[in-house]
């Protein structure tokens, strides 16, 4: 099964967002995602939104709509039942 | 490999079958028993509980037979040789876990000191009515090894064979005693440890990256991996693939179940142990097992004193059944007499195996005591008169 690993600065509205401000970044393995919404809901700084696209199983997966806000707390990674997302602090 | 002398009570003893079975297990390297008391098997574990702190091992009294039959499997995966002990009602409870032991290929021994059944039955009196259950008791298709001692000495000797076979074939072995053999006291000679050959567990020498939990070697038997050495193996009772992962489809089922069956079938010659006497020119053969074979001895002697040529074929291995042996025999004799302490269980196998070549005379006895030799003699005489040859 193909696993698509997206770069962490996935953005919604086109145009790059300055990443130098972000304290952390989010990583994805979207083909594992089942669209439960835990990460989107429980991210304390609301980095994530559901994508318009579907993954291979037909689920909407999370995208980092506001990656510059990410603090690398990994709440998303701790909540994810599917090991499809995790955050890390920038060094 | 030779037995560990710590567990071998060398010497000449006066023991009953239950006690001798315990000594056999200790000599074979059994260091873990989980059990639940049930007459007439309890003495096996009582002796073990008494001996084991000195020998070095552990006895755990569990809350029921269901717990006992799976606790021993946990111990086996952790590296021990393990056994549990029960009688009819407990044997019924253990059936699911006998199935697990077969499916996950766990080497261990289950003793059933048979008593009168069904249900609570006759706790203190003998029977041999669980013989079919030993073969077919758990659900699904599988093969099993069942051994049947007929004396306390044999309870010791055959127990070592039971452990050896379980390790060799990675399968649970049913040790089918009966209350009479279990509670009869006779001389038991236990040799020194260096005279006892035991089969140690065969752990894989492959590296964790190459190893697959259920990849059979050339003799259809997969190698076990040691716990905690980086193999990260997964064991499941679900139908599984060679990695040990659940693989629930027709192909995997066929592959796995046929291998489990062939693993035993292929080695029938090694597994089937029969004690013969006077078979060569026999007109009638008495085929028996367990305590009934002792009574049959008298009947055979009586028949021979009357001038009849009577042979003895005592089944030490009841399962897998000696199909080919019986078929061969059926072509040479007039009749095969099968006395047993049940309503006729192994006799069905004999009837099936002879394929009509000779007469098969069942001598049933519903348990609670043993046959009178005259009953078996009568059957022998009947067999000698009739028959097809």
């Amino acid at each position: 099964m193909q696993i698509t690993i997206l770069k962490s600065c996935q953005y919604k509205n086109g145009g790059p967002t300055p990443m130098s401000e972000a304290k952390g970044k989010v990583n994805f393995m979207v083909e594992r995602c089942k669209g439960c919404g835990f990460c989107v809901e429980f991210c304390p700084v609301k980095v994530l939104e559901f994508s318009k696209d579907y993954n291979i199983k037909g689920y909407h997966f999370p995208v980092a709509a506001h990656p510059e806000k990410c603090i690398g707390c990994n709440m998303c990674g701790m909540y994810c039942p599917d090991f499809a997302i995790w955050g890390e602090k920038n060094k | 490999m030779k037995a560990d002398p710590k567990g071998v009570l060398t010497g000449t003893h006066y023991l009953d079958g239950d006690h001798a079975a315990c000594e056999g297990a200790l000599a074979a390297g059994c260091r873990y028993i989980a059990g639940y008391p049930i007459t007439p098997s309890t003495e096996v574990v009582e002796r073990f509980a008494g001996r084991i702190p000195c020998v070095g091992g552990i006895f755990m009294q569990m809350e029921d037979e269901i717990a006992s039959s799976i606790a021993i499997q946990g111990a086996v995966w952790a590296g021990a040789k393990a056994m549990t002990v029960t009688s009819g009602p407990g044997f019924s409870l253990m059936m699911e876990h006998i199935g697990l032991a077969i499916m996950a290929e766990v080497p261990c021994v289950f003793i059933n000191v048979q008593r009168g059944g069904p249900s609570t039955g006759l706790p203190t009196l003998p029977a041999q009515s669980d013989m079919m259950q030993a073969r077919w008791g758990s659900h699904g298709d599988y093969e099993v090894i069942a051994l049947c001692p007929n004396s306390p000495q044999e309870c010791f000797d055959l127990m070592i064979t039971a452990f050896n076979m379980s390790e060799r074939f990675r399968t649970p072995v049913m040790f089918m005693m009966d209350e009479c053999v279990g509670h009869m006291t006779e001389r038991v000679i236990i040799p020194s440890a260096d005279k006892i050959d035991i089969v140690p567990r065969k752990y894989t020498k492959k590296s964790p990256s190459e190893y697959k939990a259920y990849q059979p070697n050339e003799v259809l038997i997969p190698e076990m991996a040691e716990l905690g050495k980086g193999y990260n193996f997964h064991i499941t009772g679900l139908t599984h693939d060679e990695k040990g992962y659940p693989a629930m489809n027709e192909d995997s089922q066929k592959k796995l179940v046929s291998r489990l069956i062939n693993k035993i079938q292929q080695y029938k010659k090694e597994i089937i142990l029969i004690e013969e006497d006077g078979i060569k020119d026999a007109e009638v053969v008495v085929m028996s097992y367990g305590i009934t074979s002792r009574v049959a001895e008298k009947a055979i002697l009586d028949a021979r004193s009357k001038g009849l040529k009577v042979g003895k074929a005592r089944l030490k291995t009841v399962w897998p059944f000696a199909d080919e042996y019986v078929l061969d025999l059926s072509k040479k004799v007039k009749a095969i007499v099968v006395p047993e302490l049940n309503a006729g269980q192994i006799v069905r196998e004999v009837e099936r195996a002879v394929k009509g070549n000779c007469e098969v005379i069942s001598v049933p006895h519903l348990g609670g005591g043993v046959h009178k030799p005259e009953l078996i003699l009568e059957a022998i005489l009947k067999g000698a008169k009739g028959g097809k040859h």
């Binding site: 701790m78 | 710590k6 552990i58 952790a78 021990a80």
Partner: protein, 304 residues
């Protein structure tokens, strides 16, 4: 394309991902918390064994990349008792569901607690028998609609922290899969605790329990846990009942020291009382009693 690996992938059987749990099911989150706890504990992966029973939570063993066992229904605990007794140095974790551990496995649960077997028991409680389609289990709250109680269940469920305490557990905690940090901490404490340690994890079962009882999906239920869990560390376990659609207590309830485990009691007792010519050598397991394969005498299980 970056080649990033999940930070806990060493504990995950990645060749078996994605797993079979439903969207919004909390078992994955519970397993995730466990992996975090295991990582934080610093325990050698080789010294850990995970045993599950049958059921949705029972599948956890199949996804964790350690020596793992998927045993029969209700019997993960006695299997673990044998495993632990033969290899006392292995950390044995039982990870299974409410139906498996408490309904069919109830008897084994209380006996293991009584003996204070050194096991870490993690029970994911989704209030029903999920794998088989959502039937009533020993923890289903009264008035729940389930597959075998289509008009509503009327039998009182077990109160798991109370049951665990009564059985003799030395560590009892309950969290939900919403409380990921507390859950990790509780699992870590339970791992490090000697004796029978019990962590109950309340989880949604969106496909069955939540759907039949019109409680929304996994996320809705997570928000319910957030708003309706009453944090009460040290609460009396008599108060930790769960009633349908009502607030419930979470926290760490029991954490006692000084109670000897089964093997400690055995060794201490025999040390004091056992007489034989060889003397009693402290039991350290039977792992190596059959591990010598090329001649020679086995080491048995005496200490060196």
């Amino acid at each position: 394309m970056e080649n990033t690996k999940h930070p806990l992938s060493k504990y995950l059987r990645e060749d078996r991902m994605p797993h079979m749990w439903c969207p919004g099911c909390g078992i994955g989150t519970a397993m995730n918390a466990f992996m975090h706890a295991l990582d934080k504990s610093g325990m050698e992966k080789n010294n850990v064994a995970v045993v599950s029973g049958i059921g949705c939570t029972g599948r956890v063993a199949g996804y964790l990349n350690v020596d793992s066992f998927h045993t029969t229904h209700g019997r993960a605990i006695p299997f673990s008792e044998g495993l632990k007794a033969a290899s006392p140095d292995t950390k044995v974790i039982v990870f299974s569901g409410d139906g498996d551990l408490i309904s069919i496995g109830g008897n084994h649960f209380i006996h293991a607690g009584r003996k204070n077997m050194d096991l870490t028991v993690i029970c994911v409680n989704n209030l029903n028998y999920a794998m088989t389609g959502g039937q009533v289990s020993a923890t289903t709250p009264v008035r729940s609609i389930t597959a075998t109680a289509p008009h509503g269940s009327f039998t009182t469920p077990f109160n798991l922290p109370f049951l665990a305490e009564a059985s003799g557990a030395v560590y009892v905690a309950r969290w939900t899969v919403y409380h990921v940090r507390d859950l990790q901490k509780a699992m870590l404490e339970a791992l490090n605790k000697k004796g029978f340690s019990f962590v109950e994890v309340i989880s949604p079962c969106p496909t069955l329990y939540e759907r039949r009882n019109k409680m929304g999906d996994g996320l809705t239920r997570m928000k319910f846990y957030k708003d309706n869990s009453i944090l009460k560390n040290g609460a009396d376990t008599k108060e930790t009942n769960i009633e349908i659609n009502k607030p419930f207590v979470v926290g760490k309830f029991i954490d006692i020291e000084g109670k000897p485990t089964y093997l400690e009691s055995m060794n201490k007792y025999y040390d004091e009382t056992f007489q034989c010519e060889l003397g009693y050598k402290t039991y350290k397991g039977t792992r190596y009693s059959c591990n010598i394969s090329d001649g020679g005498v086995s080491e048995g299980c005496m200490d060196d």
